[in-house]
Symmetry: D2
Subunit: 268 residues, 4 copies
């Protein structure tokens, strides 16, 4: 029988989306540079299997189909085939942004413009991929003092705020404060309060090409923030929001313009 979910499977869809849609699952790849967890005992205790696996377990429990990828794999685990089979890429990096190969960054960039969803977490604000998509420094003020933060919803009708109350608190967090040097978010979902006196636009949506990008500030390797239910919920919501929408195909896969030599109307 026709139903709304199945209806979205059609000739318009990326072929690779069809099977997952039948299963009603979003195909997520969580990328982690996976260094802190191997170098720092404290981080290892909080995320014994790495931040990527903590995020993956949570997303599986929210109904996603998961795989992970890390910096030290060949092609950082982000080969063409992996990206072809990914609806949404979740990105966590911090100390090794510079080690990400430009070729991989360019590949991810191209896939985002073609429809790949991208969820960038916390210190990923300085990743090559986020900066190249934003066109700005993506810098900010920061302080690591274990202070309290309170994440306020400023867009209560936005799907990324689903299942939340008006705010939630994180007892110990790294402070990220304004000015956050990003383009004006296309949709601003969260604004955070920090105990030390700063504010931050902490949940930001961007449309780029045919893709959707969600930046979410909470999270740090030395705090158990990714074990917190509200944070997991927001990341799952962000994944769902960022999934490809099966709109018109991206026309500029090689970057070039398109010569529409024949006019649609007579120029007579």
């Amino acid at each position: 029988m026709a139903n709304f979910a199945n209806e979205t499977i059609s000739a318009y869809d990326e072929p690779s989306l069809v099977e997952a849609k039948i299963m009603n699952k979003i195909r997520v790849t969580v990328w982690n540079e996976f260094r802190h967890e191997q170098l720092n005992e404290k981080v290892k205790q909080i995320y014994p299997n790495g931040i990527h696996n903590a995020l993956a377990e949570s997303l599986v429990s929210h109904g996603c189909q998961l795989r992970t990828a890390t910096l030290d794999e060949p092609e950082h685990g982000l080969g063409e085939k992996v990206l072809d089979e990914t609806d949404v890429l979740v990105w966590w990096g911090h100390m090794a942004h510079d080690e990400v190969e430009d070729e991989v960054v360019n590949r991810v960039h191209r896939h985002v413009l073609q429809g790949l969803g991208l969820v960038v977490l916390h210190s990923g604000h300085h990743s090559k991929i986020f900066r190249s998509l934003m066109g700005t420094t993506c810098s900010l003020r920061w302080r690591e003092a274990g202070e309290k933060t309170r994440v306020w919803v400023v867009a209560p009708g936005h799907p990324i705020a689903a299942g939340l109350d008006h705010y939630f608190e994180i007892p110990q967090a790294e402070m990220y404060g304004e000015h956050f040097d990003i383009p004006v978010p296309d949709e601003l979902v969260f604004v955070s309060w920090f105990q030390g006196g700063e504010v931050f636009r902490s949940g930001c949506c961007f449309y780029r090409g045919r893709g959707k990008i969600f930046y979410f500030q909470p999270g740090h390797e030395t705090y158990p923030i990714y074990h917190q239910a509200e944070v997991q919920r927001v990341i799952a919501n962000g994944v769902r929001w960022a999934q490809p929408s099966a709109g018109p195909g991206f026309l500029y896969g090689d970057g070039g313009a398109l010569h529409a030599s024949d006019s649609l109307e007579s120029l007579g």
Copy 2:
């Protein structure tokens, strides 16, 4: 098994949403003033059961759960209970905007701020409910000359563009041209070209309170536009986009401010 769709059913949800979600159906009420179809033979031929039923049939085929309401019913068919049981209200009106009672307009307005989705079609731009939510005249230039229009997608990653090509054409349409006196849309999905020389922001998304509003220009009582597949698809997409998101509850149901007398942090 856990799946992403079921996951959205939780204690956070409006109770009235739970059953429909289990059925995976959005509860839509299509409202029509239903006058042209009774007064004008040409319109009756195109929409023999009224525009509301044409829209309803299409939305059912897209998996929604439907009811309709019309101007001449008591309370225009939009009593408190109907609105409580509606996720998204689709609005079509034209010649009788002034006959819609202010009490009903205020009721719908309140429900939108509390989360009801609203899809406003074509001549509904001048409805009381749309104007009261926008705060502007919502006026525009118009011409009824049966000219061609071409609806261009300017946001290919937006879910309302799902299943579309880069543009679609409507062979005969009423022209609506700029300046369209609305607030800047929060998301602009479509821009239309008209044969007579005008352009129009024809697919516009707005967040208001906890609700979401989608305005879509195509459609007119004397053209079979609501029988066109692309138009039906866009309206179904708009309904899906506008459905309530289960974010934090609306705090200001009576319009008044909220006295947060106790601070969250010590002011010592």
Copy 3:
């Protein structure tokens, strides 16, 4: 000699703008309900000549040409002629919003759509004119506890942030917290931190019709906030930003649509 300022005086201008432009002055009317200052000794001490005169003095020192108007004057001091001769209207009201006549509200509303700038201060969020232009409740959480607030610039390139540092503090303020039930601001300039744990979108720009609206949160009758230099600077910047721009005339002065019966291009 040609210069950029004089160049803006042209046939396109509202005639009433020409003289002021020659003087390089913006014509501002400050409106105040002017009740607290007459009823409350504490307020009278802070604003002995009324909030309107404090604001007016500051704006004169920033180069504006000023007049004031208050609730108890005939037509609240906002007759047609006054509005015709005003570039930007600054609005302060709090305890007597309901006493403002709908006829005057409608008149100001019409003038804003036709190009009048509007700067709404603090408790003016609940004024009839602001609510009617926004289409939402404009409600918020509030607390009057004399706590500290810190106003952060989130749009450092915006002209309303001219002359400011990255933030400024107000030692004692009334708290206004999210969720602030307004439409998404077209430009968000400031976000405020409050000692008690809240955040607030405290500097918000809106385009409506041909007019521009700036809402600015700081200010309260029992604190000397309008004597603070940064606050005065922001209000002067807001006035300058909101002044009419001499763009195309407003087409819908009576609210009705415009019949563009002749097409610009042949429909042959």
Copy 4:
């Protein structure tokens, strides 16, 4: 006497702005790759002194203080000192985008984030500097068939629409059509109609860092578009809108984040 213009000269200002402000002039540098005019007889006839000088003459008549720079000069005429002394850079390039040195692109990029205004014209959509600031391909559909275009104002209150009627026509233009692969404009001022059936978001404003960017579609080397009064007016308006605003200084000149080690409030 105090006046509003002089008031903007203060300790907050970039020192380099002060003198120009006293003169009430915006310091504009027009950059042109200046190749078509030397290679193509037709172009030379239309712009005998180069497009840069045509633009410069127009901007001088609108009260700006002008200099020009071209591709074949050392550092493409865009050394550090030139940029330091420039408020707004106007960019025209087409056939030689790839010849612009990355070092110069990076320098201009840094200056834009620090406050330099940038006005990008027509084929400059594919310039390195625009693409790097946007983060997308900035591609589009195009056709060179000398068709008519009609530029519609969709933001009548925006200062870039000053002095215009509701639309203006260009009798012969190159077609640029959607989808235009740019980020959602922060302010959309113009939408163009093309005779051949396309539409285009032809006047787009972006905030990036502390800088402002205006993209304007009209103009082509083989048509006398930059001699048309409305086009000149829009470019002058765009320059004025994009000029630095003297807001808080840019914090991330080297791209790095800022360690705010001391909290503003006690973390007790």
